[in-house]
């Protein structure tokens, strides 16, 4: 798929002040939210309703992998299901490709799900009575694509995930990692612009998981797809996501790229997650450098690095030179200096 002509800043999914409240008295609870601004705890106490998602705002751009991270029960699955209207929002709007999904009639909604938004589940949900190929072709089959054509497309999708030798097998014959690859191939075969992934790799072994994370990112980027990817593992979110939203009790507490989340956690909850994350690949030269004036030596003698160089690369450079600092150069001009002290602070902070 050629994405060169497409506007990469185009917003594909736009969630505006979206709420989901579960329970028999959800309507009354919503009214209380609107008029009195009650909290999740108050709503549970007063209305016996569970707040799944509370005032969520997020935008997913074309070509972007957007991760949603949070503990179990924080509302991730609810939020992702609001995007393709598997769950109706109690309040707020969800726009997909500029259209309010609440305004779609049944046929238009089916069409959007079949063509624009694919979904991959943690449970994989491969149909046990169908072969791998038939599973991968499922989305096209329900759209009425002829058998030869859909099998061709499904084969190509299975090829992309490295399963071309397994087309005639049944799901039960495959390992967990392979099954999840079929789930991904099934979503890809329908060629949607947006893929929703609800903790697809959470049940897999760490090694397989790592492998699938890298494959998924590569594949999504090379096909120019956008993805919303849910995980409860911040490391996974950092590995896969362009941007990450952190959820707590139904609230998105922070949205940012990996470096922003790790270096500037919005609150203690995020800070706790971040604590165990290695920073040497996340923190970049531009965020730890000092102004040029602060360095007393000869700047022109220093080794040079780009503002986007990470700490690991800067350490490497420092080890190879006899100087105690690195000049950060952007467009030929020195914009700052990173000293050994700055490096240590960047790793430790």
């Amino acid at each position: 798929m050629n994405i060169a002509h497409k506007d990469v800043s185009e917003i594909l999914v736009d969630c505006r002040s979206v709420w989901k409240i579960f329970g028999t008295r959800a309507a009354a609870a919503i009214e209380a939210v609107e008029t009195r601004g009650l909290s999740k705890k108050d709503i549970l106490k007063e209305f016996n309703c569970v707040v799944g998602v509370s005032d969520a705002n997020l935008q997913v751009r074309r070509g972007e992998i957007f991760c949603i991270m949070g503990l179990s029960g924080s509302g991730k699955s609810t939020l992702i299901r609001l995007l393709n209207r598997l769950i109706e929002p109690s309040l707020g709007t969800v726009m997909v490709k500029g259209k309010d999904v609440a305004s779609l009639d049944a046929a238009a909604l089916r069409d959007m799900r079949a063509r624009n938004i694919g979904m991959v589940f943690q449970s994989v949900a491969l149909l046990p009575y169908r072969t791998v190929l038939e599973n991968a072709a499922f989305g096209l089959e329900v759209r009425g694509v002829a058998k030869d054509e859909r099998n061709k497309v499904a084969r190509a999708a299975l090829d992309k995930v490295g399963l071309s030798d397994w087309t005639e097998r049944y799901p039960s014959e495959l390992s967990g990692g392979m099954q999840q690859r079929v789930g991904l191939a099934r979503a890809l075969a329908a060629d949607p612009e947006i893929i929703l992934m609800d903790e697809p790799f959470s049940a897999l072994d760490p090694l397989i998981r790592r492998q699938l994370q890298d494959e998924f990112r590569q594949l999504t980027k090379s096909l120019g797809k956008s993805a919303v990817f849910i995980t409860h593992d911040l490391e996974e979110a950092i590995r896969i996501g362009d941007r990450i939203a952190i959820m707590k009790d139904g609230v998105i507490v922070q949205i940012g790229n990996a470096e922003e989340i790790v270096t500037k956690p919005a609150d203690d909850y995020v800070a706790d997650f971040v604590a165990g994350i290695s920073r040497i690949h996340l923190v970049k030269a531009h965020s730890i450098m000092q102004p040029v004036a602060a360095y007393r030596g000869d700047i022109n003698a220093l080794p040079r690095a780009a503002p986007e160089a990470d700490i690991s690369a800067l350490i490497e450079l420092t080890m190879q030179s006899e100087h105690d600092a690195i000049a950060v150069v952007d467009n030929g001009a020195v914009i700052g200096v990173v000293t050994t002290r700055d490096l240590l602070r960047g790793v430790a902070a």
């Binding site: 598997l86 909604l109 089916r110 799900r113 079949a114 694919g118 149909l127 009575y129 039960s172």
Partner: protein
């Protein structure tokens, strides 16, 4: 009021009611009877197209493919034994009766079960009715049938259909409700229409349960067909009934053996057909 005349009063009331029904519904009952007997005759005619060794060979091949070689051979040999006992015609008569009744029971029971799987109200109405049908002794159903249809295969068929229908309804409805949640979600997220959700997701998941229902219906039908010998069903049931009355124990035992053979062959075949999906 004189209590001793009460039973007579009651009897004549029932008699009146039945003769009113059969007088006023005569056309209807004749029509039903014609359809039932027509179907039965058709099935019997089909079964008699082949000689006994032809049917035995077919059973052997199906048994081999669906169950295993040993069972296939045993099924073929067992059916030949039925013929050697001189009961081939009766065996086919019973088979025709069972097949006809089961097909009719399924034709009504499976759609009803599907509907009950989706509509909880219908399910709530059906449950006590099915419970009642399965609680009462099966020969009860012969009585109204014989009053309205008279002696013969049509009466046996009606009673057999009634007895065979409950398992098909119950297990079909159960199967419809057994679809795992994640697959319903898959269907919704893939943009399936209601019909696609039914045919591509719910039905395949329900199939093992529906097949179990078919097997149970068949077994109920076999049970009833022997009892229905009393009302002139034809086939082995009537043979047993007749020979027991004349104390012809040998014949009645032979007929019983033939029934056991037929039941076991069909039971195993339908059971494995149910399991023999690709999954």
């Amino acid at each position: 009021m004189d209590m001793s005349t009460l039973p007579d009063t009651f009897d004549s009331a029932i008699d009146d009611a039945l003769s009113w029904i059969s007088d006023n519904g005569e056309g209807l009952f004749d029509f039903i009877r014609a359809i039932l007997e027509g179907t039965y005759d058709g099935v019997l005619w089909l079964l008699q197209l082949l000689p006994f060794y032809g049917i035995a060979a077919i059973a052997a091949v199906f048994g081999w493919r669906l169950v295993g070689l040993r069972f296939g051979i045993a099924a073929g040999v067992a059916l030949v034994v039925c013929a050697l006992m001189g009961l081939w015609g009766e065996t086919m008569g019973t088979l025709a009766l069972v097949v006809t009744a089961t097909v009719l029971a399924l034709a009504a029971g499976i759609p009803l079960g599907i509907a009950a799987g989706f509509l909880t109200t219908l399910d709530r109405i059906l449950q006590p009715v099915l419970d009642l049908i399965q609680t009462l002794p099966p020969y009860i159903y012969l009585l109204p049938a014989i009053a309205l249809m008279g002696f013969g295969p049509a009466t046996a068929l009606i009673a057999t259909v009634i007895v065979a229908m409950p398992p098909a309804i119950r297990l079909t409805a159960l199967g419809m409700r057994m679809t795992p949640r994640e697959f319903i979600e898959l269907g919704q997220a893939s943009g399936l229409t209601g019909w696609q959700m039914f045919s591509k997701i719910r039905l395949p998941f329900a199939l093992p349960s529906i097949m179990a229902g078919i097997n149970q219906s068949l077994m109920m039908a076999f049970g009833m067909v022997v009892i229905a010998g009393i009302v002139g069903s034809g086939g082995l049931g009537e043979t047993i009934y007749g020979s027991v009355r004349t104390l012809d124990i040998a014949t009645s035992i032979n007929a019983a053996i033939a029934i056991v053979i037929l039941t076991m062959v069909l039971d195993r075949l339908t059971q494995s057909a149910g399991k023999g999906g690709k999954a």
